[in-house]
Amino acid sequence: MEEQPLFSDLSEAERKALEELMPDEMGEIMSSGIKRRHFLKLFAVTGTSLLAANLLGIEQLMARSIPIEEQPPVLIENGINVSFQVNGSTQKLMVDSRMTLLDTLRERLGLTGSKKGCDHGQCGACTVIVDDKRVLSCLTLAATCEDKKVTTIEGLATGNELHPMQTSFIKHDGFQCGYCTPGQICSAVALMGEAKNGDASYVTANVREKKKAVELSNEEIRERMSGNICRCGAYPNIVSAIREVHGDKAVAQVWQFAEGTI
């Protein structure tokens, strides 16, 4: 099977950086986008994994749908016909009653942005938004999704325009390896709605106060995002990214590429 480009649109700065590091491969990169072996080479030539890892993380964060041929699963037991919306388009398929929403998204619909971390509801990497609520797709049976509206990381951007939360995660370097990032971002996007709605959390000072839009402190964000684990420990940057989207003030960017690398 032809290797799929990881992403095809590079910014001018990214293109320049790559050109310097991998002049031989540039033609191919420009015509068909970055592929996984380019990353491997990038790791090798830079000697430091920073740039490559960062690009890999960005790929997770901007994950978009890869067209795949619908492959009927080999064996379905107790098949259930289910029809639901995913990122705005209606999907009708027959699923095994055991099939989780996560596996359906990844294996049947080619939406591999949502990640399988623990598969037991303990890490949050599989977080998607169902009917405006963030949920764990690894513990959601696809059969329960009839008529529901599912939004995954692939559905957040509008064309090439990233969702503000995606932009903010890049600006604040809210990831290293990027594996938990789609779940973090979906979780954070839904969190904005919950805060606006005045929902309380365990660290809310007084739950008896009348509901009004919640001002999210760092402590509030940490508590409300505790269902999303990041093994790289990018938490401070994740909190900054969310604060920026939540507040009207820009939060200072805490990192930048070293001079001359970009």
Partner: protein
Amino acid sequence: MRPFKYSNASETAAAINAVVVNPTARFLGGGTNLVDLMKEDVMRPSELVNVTRLKFSAVEKKENGLSIGGTATNAVTANHELVRENYPLLSMAILAGASAQIRNMATNAGNLNQRTRCTYFYDVNMPCNKREPGSGCGALHGVNKNHAILGWSEKCVATYPSDMAVALAALNAVVHVEGSDSTKRSIPFSDFHRLPGDHPEIDNTLKHGEFITSIDLPANRLAEKSYYLKIRERSSYAFALVSVAAALETSGNRIKDVRIALGGVAHKPWRARIAEQWLTGKEATEANFKAAALAELKNAKPLEQNKYKVGMAAKAIVRALEGAMQGGNYGAMEADLTTTN
């Protein structure tokens, strides 16, 4: 996961009947615990009946209190204005549990039906009388630092994991259920979950096929002085080592009504009735809180690795009562914790 039959229930009687006639059928709520246990092969239902579309998701005023729907989610319940205003203890307890994602999925009925997180129960290669009656209890002389200190038996030392249920125990909630042939009954919360005794495989007093339609919260005058304290190994998204739901009604500084329930210490939410009786009619002072806590925990029987829980529970009772006296204000409590710890 083993294969199972699945249906979306649209009618209550039919849903109940489907489970009644099949001894290995189960209702499916949010699935946050059941689906996980099925992946682990701990639970092996042959059929799931999804009840989340049945019309039991309302939170509404009743003549003498509030009724919360069995299929309402934990998140909706915790953030309902009537719950926040009148039963802040329940809001706080629910919000102390799990994560935002899980609370969006989990139903109230499912919360009461969740299983212990004892690692021996989860590991199918280990003995566990709850999972496989007669196989023994791996935790009794095994790794038992998270286990019970009250009310356990030689057959089982597991604890009940829910935070919500601890608040419901303190609030004298009543569980309404519907069974076959539309038989309805109500179960006082203290009779809902059970101690393990010789049958740890039975978590609660529901009969097979009985469906939790709603949970009633009687009116009370505890809202102003309520606090849920949860102590855990990380500051969020972890099960309780010890938790305390505390609520008081005072006249001046004299205690008219006091409710104390403990989580993480027993096979069911542990209503601290000895401490409550000790405190009723007395002054709300730290010394009295301490004496009451010690009276309650005099009966504790810790295991090899969880002796710490006895002292922790005693201190947690005192702090939770103090938190309640301060109006359940989380910020104030946190400041207090950092200075007195």
